[in-house]
Symmetry: D2
Subunit: 327 residues, 4 copies
């Protein structure tokens, strides 16, 4: 069965102060603000032709409402509904929302407890890719991936690959060959979603694509100039796994954003997933830098689809270890 | 019908001096030489996991034997055979060739007279993406696209989109709304193949992907240092169409190579093809530079599948004009 | 005799529309506007600690009032006065001008007819080098050099080296070993001033230093986005002479600005001036690109110190030829 | 009195394995090997026109023999001899050494116990700045500065500024306004030499200039590919103090090298030294990264001029604190 999932498409999450978030995402990172109200801001990257890839909602506490995949057409939504209901899961329809530009959506909970959304339509907007005079900070181009901590990585990988049609590009294995972390894709890049062994489900970070490495360096400088030096958590550096040039920053509420440039094409069925041994001396980032403890320990809770309360978290299946190559 | 064509995968073409070509492609542009004989050199980019994307054959005259697309699996080759034969075209099978690492192939001529090849298997080799000590010159990462001059662009676009499942990302239209040039993709980048109105069929250039803009600048410096300044034909510059940062160089036999970095994701069905008016004042490259006459006039002949003789060329359907935004 | 000239320090020139100039210099090129009135704008680069390096005056026609060198202290101004008067030249003092931040100045005409100014003091202002959130366009850092067309290069070089203490870093010689163009410095970079054989005196361009090569590429993109593509005259490219990465742009009045990054240290007395033969096949820029005719033919008139009328121009001593390596 | 010291010019130091050092400095960092014997290797950067800026001598233990300044001409050496002897210090002449290309030298010990050398002549060699096909790794361009830990920074600064004619560009002060560290220059960059409060005298690092920021990123990648990831100690990052983009690496013997790009012009007498408060929240590097302990604690001993034994080290005058902005 093919649900024709195209790519990760948006994240909907809470922030406590819309203006503080606007300053961070628009002025420091370079997102375009498509629209906003007193309750939310819709943000997109410079090359994006859809209304938003990040919807920030004003709330009292952080939390992630939805991670959202785009499918090819409505029939795939119907097929997904049938699939989830066939497994005994809830799968609810939501009406299109003209204000935020999103078409009708199907929302479900994945086996790790992550609130998922699927949609086929989002309002089209102007691409700003050639409006270079609007480029600021990191000049964010588009959403690239999400990374989640889940208690059972192998179960998550099995579900996404066998049921939803994702493919593995790279993974980290323990000594006894258990999958400790995995990078999965639908679009032919390294990933749309990664899962890492850990207390969860929690959203570890959202990755956004940059046009070139120097934009990442410039973003560090701009963030420092604007008083956001403390929000730079890790990097710049080169990932061993994925080969991307990366920077991790924390937004004013602690949500983690990865600025990311330069992985590779994963289009071919004979591309063999790259295995990284958890004891490989290169488990640190490619240049040998260690990540700070906060990077391993802190992540954002998911909120359940019905009440918006934090989803129950479980301890990880495998022993907790610092997954150094995790992107 | 879906033939599951993944991407442009290789070009097979003539050069007159293998050592001269090796110096140019390996030392100046930074290709990896997978293997060679007295008759050919097989080259790949740093991230490629397949045997080669460029096969240079020793011959007395330049000419392009094949442009080649990878499909998902053998069944798609069989479907392509049936399709072409159903249209009354020849479609011949060729045995796998262990020396050059190519699996069995199906070869046909497209409606413009371009010799096409389809295959599902090529020998796997080591990816060198993280062997940075081997990086030289432009540090070519992978094949990205080909660009062909054809006498009837609209016929070519119709065939590739309606029959082979390609999609249009951008195009140039005349005053009376005829398609003068078009960029078509299977993988979700701007293109796997572009067609431009002109005497043809001829191969205008092969585009290779670079990891970042500074590698392109460095390649100019390296080429000049090595005595290849005259081989730099156009650029560096920014394409209006595609938004890529580009450089056109000519190999020792005059074959044109585009070094290319930075287009955008075209994965979505609701991405609207970008139309460029042939009278748009921005018809020049985005920064307003003019291309030299050689760029408009010179291209490499295709060779027919049976005798290896130059394919018959026809005059273009639309009046010849300098297509400034052509990538 | 040592007048202790430190460096080229500012240029004072006319523009016809202050707002048009502001948009170009501040928004597209990234200058900081220190101050302005209805009659002038004072501009500085991001690292400059002095009031301005470019003073634009509103006028009906273009023209350059002054090119200005900073000396170590007042005693050197007095020594310069004595020197010029001793040669029978006029040398007039001007009072400090609090509005534009300039201290007292000594103004003279050099042997080519160029209006020169010397000063020791200019009002200090905040350096913005670490205010990265203000960086725009080319992110101009500081004034680097001026380049003038003069009718007798050898006479100019002789005066600046023997009398004023400049040193030659590179030069272009004709077949009969006449100096066709020369690059002269006081600060230990390739130049503070260059002279090229031509109808003159005229100001060919003012060169400003950038922090890195990618800022130059970004400036091309920003200029094109803002509608300034036609103002990009030449480049980006690598100079053979000086080795700098360069871009030539024209301001709204046609004044030529060079954006420049990456020459080398010329501090040592045993550094041998680099000689370029006018027939050297590498006379084109290092990558082999030709400059457009406008680059060779167009330049801005100097205005005389007393009446502000265009300085008389003379035909060049040596035959006019395209000086391809000229920076 | 003006001794006309031009710039820091070379360092002579021990390494234990010439081949291991050659691999590191030439293949990973991109130095040019001018010449070598069984006892030494002479290295220079790509733009250097003198024989070497780093002379590595084979020995059983690390140690720094000399830090060396170039003066304008021989008369300045004689003046320096008279100056040092007048202060009751030893000042010995050494003959020119044709093998290593150094002219006659005057060697003295500075007030901190650092073995200093002055010279006016070194053999000229070919500059490789435009031999881009030789560029590797970090593409080191030239020596930029040295940084020394000394027990009494204020005494060192006083001697270098009042007696030798250096000027301060930036400095770090304690709460009670004692100078904790200082950056001093002769050439108009941020520094030729820096002094930091610490057990000493010891050589903290030698700084080499790079042509652009991306060469530094590429060097990290090349080092990691070659197995030198453990030799990357700190960075890449932006210095608050100096504004340079930096990377600290350790050679196979633990000697620290800084790869450095992008400070600013310090030519003007009215440039006011930048003061950094030791309690400034920005005392960390500009992006807020902490340096590892090794960076604060480890440095290389100097060797005395006569016996080549380690120079006696003293405890610092001011309390030891982590000097975060030290470059």
């Amino acid at each position: 069965m093919d649900f024709n999932i195209i790519r990760i498409a948006r994240v909907v999450m809470n922030v406590t102060d819309l203006n503080a978030s606007r300053d961070f995402y628009v002025n420091a990172l370079g997102f375009i603000e498509t629209d906003s109200s007193s309750e939310w801001i819709a943000l997109r990257g410079l090359e994006e032709h859809c209304h938003h890839s990040l919807l920030l909602k004003k709330a009292e506490k952080p939390g992630v409402h939805l991670v959202s995949y785009k499918v090819w057409e409505d029939s795939h939504l119907t097929a997904l509904e049938a699939f989830f209901k066939g497994k005994g899961s809830k799968a609810n329809w939501y009406e299109a929302d003209d204000a935020t530009g999103i078409g009708k959506t199907l929302r479900v909970e994945d086996p790790s407890g992550i609130p998922l959304e699927f949609f086929a339509e989002m309002k089209g907007v102007e691409r700003c890719i050639q409006k270079y005079d609007l480029y600021r900070g990191a000049r964010v181009q588009r959403i690239d991936h999400i990374n989640c901590m889940v208690p059972d990585v192998e179960a998550a990988v099995s579900f996404y690959t066998k049921e939803l049609g994702f493919r593995v590009s790279e993974y980290t294995a323990t000594e006894d060959d258990r999958t400790w972390a995995a990078w999965l894709h639908r679009k032919p890049t390294v990933h749309d979603v990664a899962f890492m062994n850990g207390e969860g489900p929690r959203l570890h970070h959202i990755g956004f694509w940059l046009s070139d490495p120097m934009s990442l360096i410039h973003c560090c400088d701009v963030m420092a100039s604007m008083g956001y030096a403390d929000n730079i958590e890790r990097g710049p550096g080169r990932h061993g796994l994925s080969n991307a040039f990366f920077l991790y920053v924390r937004d004013p509420d602690g949500n983690r954003i990865e600025l990311y440039n330069g992985d590779y094409l994963t289009s071919d069925p004979d591309f063999k997933p790259v295995k990284w041994d958890i004891n490989d001396p290169r488990r640190q980032t490619f240049w040998g830098h260690k990540a700070p403890d906060s990077w391993f320990n802190e992540a954002t809770s998911f909120l359940d689809l019905e009440k918006g309360e934090p989803v129950n978290q479980k301890s990880p299946t495998l022993a907790q270890r610092k997954p150094d190559f995790v992107t």
